[in-house]
Symmetry: C2
Subunit: 228 residues, 2 copies
């Protein structure tokens, strides 16, 4: 069941990358060090690939052959659908597009990222504790919100500091496209401090999980200290 | 439950129209007599609107508040997800794109339409009998395949015979874009006979439903005899 959920999240993530790279969105030729989907094929193919990957996520998660707890599975489907749509990832993308060339406050930037990248990260954590206690679910949500934001702060820092080869996508893109980022709003040094602050909040939220929170701590470590 | 399923199918249908109208696909400025989504807003917005509508379809159908039979609901989600993805509607669109400017046999055209428009029509019928007997499900599938193809044959005829005002979308599009259609393959008269043949097959398949097949017969009547 955990495998199925992980697979479904990965499919939603992959679809969003294919659509995000398209000319009408981020217009990026490079993804994971290779030509992005629309560049390798064409725009129509990329559109359909993204659409079909989203359907496949819900197909995989609604497969009844491996499942015993149907109520739990429905809840997981609902978590993933909400995280993907207009009150989650897609909604965050729309706010992001509307923000290009505008000056945002830190709070506005955060609420955009909580949707755009945070919603799917939160869903991936919540799917893992969908059968957990209320205390665990609240703790997981706090953990997820903080690593979701940390992910974005680090992303903005890497866009300035890393090179294209290391990133596997085009570096320096935010400045070229005049996007508001944590670096433009806070400056590089304060952005780095902010990432550490969010990391500390995330680790602190893991207490109710005791020793079983070890893998989640590793996830927070990776997100905050990655170089790509 | 029937309302929820109908709503989910409509959301998938609406998303597919928004994406189909985009410049990289059919590039159509008009939909239901109004500016299409990308024309009214922009391409990025249309992309995100379509993506979010697809998520919303699965969100609506996975809502557990109105449901008692969770197993049935999971089956319905799986039917809709399969019909929407690469082995259904999105896959059919990809075959359609690959066919532009090529000469197709009637069998090739049919297998493309069974995916492109047929899969979602079939899903909408199957969702209504998801709890039915095996005989009913097989009959519904035959009915659906025939009205799905009839829908497309009539669509191809209308593209030639109707005007833009009546259609609410641009008439004469198929010839301009050099698409293989039932009219180009069979000629107008034989295409009309073929639509009647498919209609008769559909009506014949309704026998196991007895009097309760009345509404499905009305649906077949509408699809075959519509003028828009």
């Amino acid at each position: 069941m955990a495998d199925v959920a992980a697979c479904a999240v990965e499919l939603i993530h992959a679809y969003s990358l294919v659509h995000d790279d398209m000319p009408c969105m981020d217009d990026d030729d490079l993804r994971r060090g290779k030509a992005s989907c629309h560049k390798q094929y064409n725009d129509a193919t990329a559109l359909l690939v993204g659409d079909a990957l989203q359907s496949l996520a819900f197909e995989v998660l609604s497969n009844t052959q491996k499942i015993s707890n149907t109520k739990l599975q429905l809840s997981m489907l609902n978590i993933l659908a909400r995280a993907s749509g207009s009150i989650g990832m897609a909604g965050g993308q729309a706010v992001d597009l509307a923000s290009v060339g505008k000056s945002l406050s830190q709070a506005e930037l955060e609420s955009m990222h909580l949707l755009k990248t945070g919603a799917l990260i939160e869903a991936s954590i919540l799917l893992g504790v969908a059968n957990g206690s209320e205390v665990q679910i609240i703790a997981a949500r706090t953990f997820a919100k903080n690593i979701g934001l940390a992910f974005q702060v680090v992303d903005d820092i890497l866009d300035v500091e890393a090179d294209t080869d290391t990133l596997g996508k085009t570096a320096g893109k935010d400045a070229t496209t005049n996007k508001p980022t944590y670096v433009t709003i806070l400056g590089l040094d304060v952005a780095k401090q902010h990432a550490q602050h969010l990391y500390a909040n995330a680790i602190n939220a893991l207490k109710p999980f005791g020793a079983s929170g070890h893998r989640l701590k590793e996830l927070a470590d990776f997100i905050t200290h990655r170089s790509f």
